[in-house]
Symmetry: D3
């Protein structure tokens, strides 16, 4: 259960500002499905607009990193932040962008290894080598 | 300052088990430089061996994800875990594997956006859409 | 499902120490409803007492911060710690103390922005400006 | 040491896009001092612009929460995310906005209490009371 | 719902590599029950093998720390990482290894106190005393 | 650098409430050394008293868990919360209570393994087995 109301399509249609954001999500993603994250954010039109605008700019527009790599970075962050919703939605998004089982397996291995060595480095309080200095 | 002693090369050479691990790190990485993380782990030869064996298998051996993508996933995990040492060492590693400034900028944008939407999803306690079910 | 038994009112009544704490919770909050957090802590009477005593001192007694501000700080911490239970219970508490939808929207915007810039600062390992020194 | 170069004022002046953002930061804050966070973000003009635009909208423009409350929420998030830079910069900002020692003391008590009960709730895996359901 | 398929015993039996790992889990633990964590990891045989090998070496083989202490450390980490699954499975494991209610109560008190003072230390950015230097 | 002033012994002596707490810390610990954490908390006498009282009750008074086990749980929490100060102070405390190098090595192995499997469980969103239900 959410801490706010989830807006259904009828409620969305009745609010021009929210409707405009949902329309853009549907057109941009070429899909009628709008997931619950946006239906929860609909309670805060300004935050909805700014968040969607950011996601569109960062995750949808072409850039120097390919879309699948961006999704894997997103899932890595969501995993460590223990955000169940985000892990589910972005693992689904990664699959839709072509993530293979073998790539998923390697992704999991890297995330697990990083979490382990992060814990070791923190527990040992390893001092940063001067060689890593950017200068 | 570390919570354990950092082993210098002389101390490493005096312990066959640690020396063998350090030799393999140097040969595998084609570099004489062994960073402080391993010099701290040298106090625990068994953990040193298991950790290096894991890193070698996951991060060095070729697989379905390219080496730079793996480093970006690693930095993403380290950033959220707030592991200063790991952020420094793996950003340096990513640069050595060809990370461009434009790629770094996009990486930062994705990590920041993911952290923001993780916080929003958690605060809103968004319920997982059945569409994300693997089945 | 909890990792411990949740005490019902009958079990509470049978233990004088737990009963005393529950009585004080009900009197202090002017409500018969005692939420599951306390029913789980009832297994550890000493911890129950110390925790309730702390909550009463910090969250209930009047001070220099108003009660709603304290709840927002509480939810911010709970969100980043990904504590579903705490997010739910303290968002409900904030609403009971007058949180408006507009205030909730701004709260979410601040939490999201802070999480994003935390990730950026950590990934960039920004050195602390001497101007921030307390002296 | 940062993982990127920090831009000095001369370098900022040579890049029109970065200079425009810095000028707006100075005008908006009515201060010549621009802290290291922005000097690190200067390497990514697009991210610099989007982040500053977000901060300005969320933290500077008047809204339903007063500026000091927003800073306290910000520090709470930064504390749990263990972002040293953010804790320093936003504690300084809160002081500049009038945070008293007594308010700081209460803030610390709330953050500490929340962190403690978050850990207890998570360890006990307390089930969410139906009374907290939004509907 | 998981982000991957959970393997049932029939599927496990059809894959020699996965079957060998499951057989070793059952023999080592002297129990037919294999919990969902391993059924999820079965999708990644290499990761399954490496993870089980690590768990066996670290958690099962006798060492300088007794098995119950190791489980408590495990639950402490899982609590702060907000890993519901791990908290459940390792609290059950600790009980199977003799954890008493009184020990569980003290464990909770320590975890809560540590989480509280961690938040205070981070918010106060307490400088490390030279007396803690290992040298 | 801290976000608050650290009190020296002269300042402590001038405040009867703070002096009483420091006196009790010294007597209880049988040592003149009072570390920076308490010198920072001295700015908030009420929080200082409540925190010291909690630490004394949880970490000093004899109970069902031995003192070294409690310190290891404390360091595990501090490691995952990335609290540098707490990792340093409690690793020193554990050593003072007899932690051997071999025990430290095993502790590190458990913390690392837990962090790794936490990340895997979260990324896989493994559903909790009904067998772990307390009932």
């Amino acid at each position: 259960m959410a801490t706010v109301k989830l807006w259904n399509d009828e409620e969305v249609s009745a609010n021009p500002r929210v409707k405009a954001a949902f329309d853009d999500i549907r057109v941009t993603r070429k899909s009628d499905f709008v997931n619950n994250f946006w239906r929860a954010l609909a309670n805060q039109p300004e935050l909805l607009e700014r968040t969607w605008s950011g996601i569109k700019q960062v995750m949808v527009e072409p850039g120097a990193l390919d879309p699948l790599t961006k999704e894997l970075i997103y899932i890595a962050v969501s995993t460590i932040n223990s955000c169940s919703y985000c892990i589910h939605s972005h693992t689904a998004a990664a699959r839709a962008k072509g993530l293979t089982d073998q790539q998923h397996a390697e992704f999991l291995a890297v995330v697990g290894m990083a979490a382990e060595t992060n814990a070791l480095s923190n527990a040992l309080q390893v001092p940063i080598d001067p060689e890593f200095n950017v200068g």
